[in-house]
């Protein structure tokens, strides 16, 4: 039994040495007797996708905020997309509420265009530039019935999509 325990570690060491030697043997060794006096080397490098997207932590109705993307590096033919994908309200409606239950409906615009759930608010393609930003305006209703602290959330989602980009 003792000899078996001695043999197993020794075998493991021998196998590990064999694996190391085998890895080095992938290089090409050329001698005077080599029929082919050439050797090929594979040159590679991997560039990982990267980007930094910044969304505002808070926004007060009646104001605008900036959504930005920087240092965008994705595969050619792809772009970084920032989308407004949801709200805290039922059916993803653009509403804010007080604790007492009063509601206000608001709108979000990207420039002159209304933003709907699922719309892309910012798209950055490194083919054009490695950074970009969008200004979103959150509009309050013209009239308010009840006083109170109205609150709600919107959700932005970032993804890497393939061209063509949205218009």
């Amino acid at each position: 039994m003792k000899k078996l325990f001695t043999f197993i570690p020794a075998l493991a060491i021998a196998l590990s040495l064999y694996v190391t030697a085998f890895a080095a043997a992938n290089d090409t060794s050329i001698t005077p007797g080599s029929e082919n006096k050439t050797g090929s080397t594979s040159v590679t490098y991997t560039v990982q996708p990267a980007y930094t997207v910044t969304i505002p932590a808070t926004v007060t109705l009646g104001n605008s905020v900036t959504v930005s993307a920087e240092d965008v590096k994705v595969n050619k033919g792809s772009y970084v997309a920032v989308k407004l994908t949801g709200t805290s309200e039922m059916n993803n409606s653009f509403k804010v509420k007080t604790d007492e239950g009063a509601e206000l409906v608001y709108t979000v615009k990207n420039g002159e265009e209304n933003v709907n759930i699922g719309d892309t608010v910012l798209a950055v393609n490194p083919y054009d530039a490695d950074n970009g930003n969008a200004t979103l305006s959150f509009s309050a209703p013209a009239s308010v019935t009840y006083a109170g602290t109205y609150k709600g959330t919107v959700t932005f989602t970032v993804s890497v999509d393939t061209v063509p980009m949205p218009k």
């Binding site: 992938n26 060794s29 090929s40 080397t41 991997t46 560039v47 990982q48 996708p49 595969n75």
Partner: protein
């Protein structure tokens, strides 16, 4: 006693035959002397030493990002061992390639040029250029190649293949 004498005589005969055979293998009209030979004769001394060398080419060079400037670099070493050549001869290693790394395919393919420099040289190698020369030496010899590429616009897996050729000149 009689048997001993018989054995000795037999051994003597056997030995003389072997000596004769040995002498016959060595004898040659060109280098045997007779009473008439008054001058020396030549024996040619030969010793053949075949050229040897082992040059090792790396299978792969993987560039890594340099944090200082965002570019990608890596060194590769060409190694020569047991180099023994005719006098004044050298083992020469040349490099061939287009020195362009490629990522993607078809409509999304993208090429990024890279450079290869040797040792302390600031000049990039062109295809067919010499990247190492090794002379006769009992010690191992190396040549260090510096691979470098700019920080690319796009992410992805970039690849290329270069070919080294060995010759003795």
């Amino acid at each position: 006693m009689k048997k001993i004498i018989t054995f000795v005589l037999s051994m003597t005969a056997a030995l003389s035959l072997s000596l004769t055979a040995f002498a016959a293998a060595e004898s040659d009209p060109a280098n045997t002397f007779g009473p008439s030979d008054t001058t020396g004769k030549e024996t040619t001394v030969n010793f053949n030493v075949d050229p040897t060398y082992t040059v090792t080419i790396p299978a792969k060079v993987t560039l890594a990002k340099d944090a200082s400037d965002g570019n990608y670099r890596q060194d590769a070493v060409i190694k020569a061992e047991n180099v023994r050549l005719l006098e004044n001869k050298m083992v020469k290693v040349t490099l061939a390639g287009d020195f362009k790394l490629t990522t993607g395919e078809n409509g999304t393919s993208y090429e990024l040029p890279y450079t290869v420099k040797v040792g302390d040289s600031d000049t990039a190698i062109i295809t067919g250029g010499t990247v190492a020369t090794f002379g006769t030496s009992t010690t191992d010899q190396t040549s260090t190649l510096h691979f470098a590429a700019d920080n690319p616009t796009y992410a992805g897996e970039y690849t290329d293949t270069v070919t080294f050729t060995i010759s003795v000149e």
